[in-house]
Amino acid sequence: MSTNAHDAYYIPHKAVWPIIGTAGLGTMLAGFANYLNGSAAGSTFMIAGLMIFISMLVGWFTLQANESESGMYNHGVGISYRMGMMWFIFSEIMFFAVFFGTLWYTRNLSMDWLGGIGDGPGRSTHDALWANYEAKWPTNGPGKVGGKEGEFESMGAFGLPFVNTLLLLSSGVTCTWAHHGLLAKNRDQLIKGLMATVSLGFLFVACQAIEYHEAYSEMGLTLGTGIYGSTFFMLTGFHGLHVCIGAIILSVVLFRSWKGHFTPENHFAFEAAAWYWHFVDVVWLGLFIFVYLM
């Protein structure tokens, strides 16, 4: 609630990290854009920008951790941070919703139109351009875009993806177990739980790397394999990136736990990392159902 939130609300002054981070991100993106346009200097700027950005993350989070440990954040500040994290995760959900929506739209609407099913206006593309195309998921479209001479295999659900599901689900459990340890002042349990969570996370990433390697080298399935390849790699790729980020955040939390940070009352960083991890977990369940199973 708003009451006594700010009799001692901590207001920082003179922040240097935001402008450094902005400069880093701007340099990185400008470099990336130049690289895409074929300029030789592009990748140098990209890497330099990334370095600056990473230094910002290290610097800013160290500062926050120190401030937190020295008791500068009261209850009200904690609420602001929690709200910030919740709304940030909401924005991430909307980001993933775009790609899930794309998958849904393609499979349920534009596939039919391209294949000449029904008599919506979209059907004219079929009649005029690809009268022989039969729409069947998975597809790389009437033009047979990408693949090995236009052919490809789709990714089954019960192999590595199923293993990955088990890995992520159990990492959710270990994360909660660690949280219980933190609340019960059992530091050993906290650290062990976090170590398990981080390891399961990185194991997941490793499995996904193997899966991608197989897709590219044996199945004719790449990012360029028509709409199936596009949606498959975009969804699983962005998710994998988020698993990496989540695992790195959890590693930082692990490091801080090991240094003796966090109390049962004051552990926003842990909570934020855990929420993020559960969010990544739930997205994976969506992926498993809609990308692999259906």
Partner: protein, 539 residues
Amino acid sequence: MSAVVAEHDHHDEHHDHGPAKGLVRWLITTNHKDIGTLYLLFALAMFFVGGLMALVIRAELFEPGMQFVNPTFFNSMTTMHALVMVFGAVMPAFVGLANWQIPLMIGAPDMALPRLNNMSFWMLVAGVLLLASTLFMEGGAPACGWTFYPPLVLRDCGHALPFAVFSVHMLGVSSIMGAINIIATILNMRAPKMTLMKMPLFVWTWLITAFLLIAIMPVFAGAVTMLLTDKFFATSFFDAAGGGDPVLYQHIFWFFGHPEVYVMILPTFGVASTIIPVFARKPLFGYSSMVYATASIAFLSFIVWAHHMFTVGMPIAGELYFMYATMLIAIPTGVKVFNWTATMWKGAMTFETPMLFSICFVVLFTMGGLTGLMMSVAPTDFQYHDTYFIVAHFHYTLVPASVFILMAAGYFWLPKWTGNMYDERLARFHFWMSAISVNILFFPQHFLGLAGMPRRIPDYAVQFADWNMVSSIGAFIFGFSQLIFLYIVIKTINGGTGEKVTDEVWEDASKHSLEWTLPSPVPYHTWATPPEEVPSEHF
């Protein structure tokens, strides 16, 4: 309480947390007033940059035939004008107002997340710089329209595309961080007695707008990311040969795009609802219905997007659904117009410049809403779509609405912020010049559009010549009139008329909202302890 917190209290007492010295102050500031000022000045600058682009457009359209620029550059100008105005001028200006006003109005010492606040602003600058850099690039700035429709954008966008895409990413991050900050501030930092239903309407509208921003900016980011991968990484999202669909892009874009126009209009509503009661010397009529109307508009804005796509070939059920859903928006919008009018009804009105702009807003925004209603009728929209009629529609909802209200806000709050009074005579002159010329500029565009003149084309058939000339003349008068505003703002900051304003500035303003109980000019730090009492809307 810890030692650190105590030390902080001590600082507050002596006011020695002043700003850093020199230009560095602005780079590293975390003060909501400093950051608000940065946003507002940046927006003002972009307003003139975007305005200059508009004048290039209107100069070319002064007469039929090609006069000044080549067609691609013309299209770059329409594209960049829209992007600069939307993302560089109107949105940042409202964020600037939010920064200045929300903490003052709810009795908070600052924004909830001050460091993030600084970063939001500088990310905005970086994003706009990325975008602006395309003007100097091989192939020029994007010329595909602010909507970036594929396949056109993938074929014709030269070297600009990745810069435009990354610019959208940075602007998105900036908006999301800003919005998160605003929500956390409003929900967590209010004075103890300020319940949600006692918040000034400006705060309410920003709360809802911030929610819209967090929901839609990632969607836009996702859409342009797919453009990027379609262009550079061989994906087929918007390519039918690979099984994709270019129309899908339009759906995603407008799922963002329609709420986006409400991001620009909801805070406009909020400021109007703040100004009109002060000069009508009455409480706002129908406070709670205003809140509910704002929330319903926001909700509806998520389910009407395809009214921008009536002509792309949707199934008939889709056309009908989006037509009726769009018409529904007129209801809560009508509630608002009714309430503003009823607030003025039998009020002891005076017509200082903020009020003049606000009344003008009510009238002209209503016109924009009515043309919107005309276009929401799917069969008739086949005639209006992509013509100057829609250009007239959205300029009525954006210029004499959002932009006028931003100016009203400037006249309304600048005396509070600076402690100096602006030149009322000159300001009224600015108002009348703007109000008359904006109609000379945009009203004829309705006729042009109904007669079939397409938008985004640098040349036109001779039968459109007369009204285009009128419109261009209006444009130049409007554009140059804004220099008066610039002059007034600069002069007010530097001492104004020399007359010092009272704390209240406007008669009885402190009955309406908290900021008027603070000294003028507002000190660098305010509400170190929250106010005991808060105004109620029934006085």
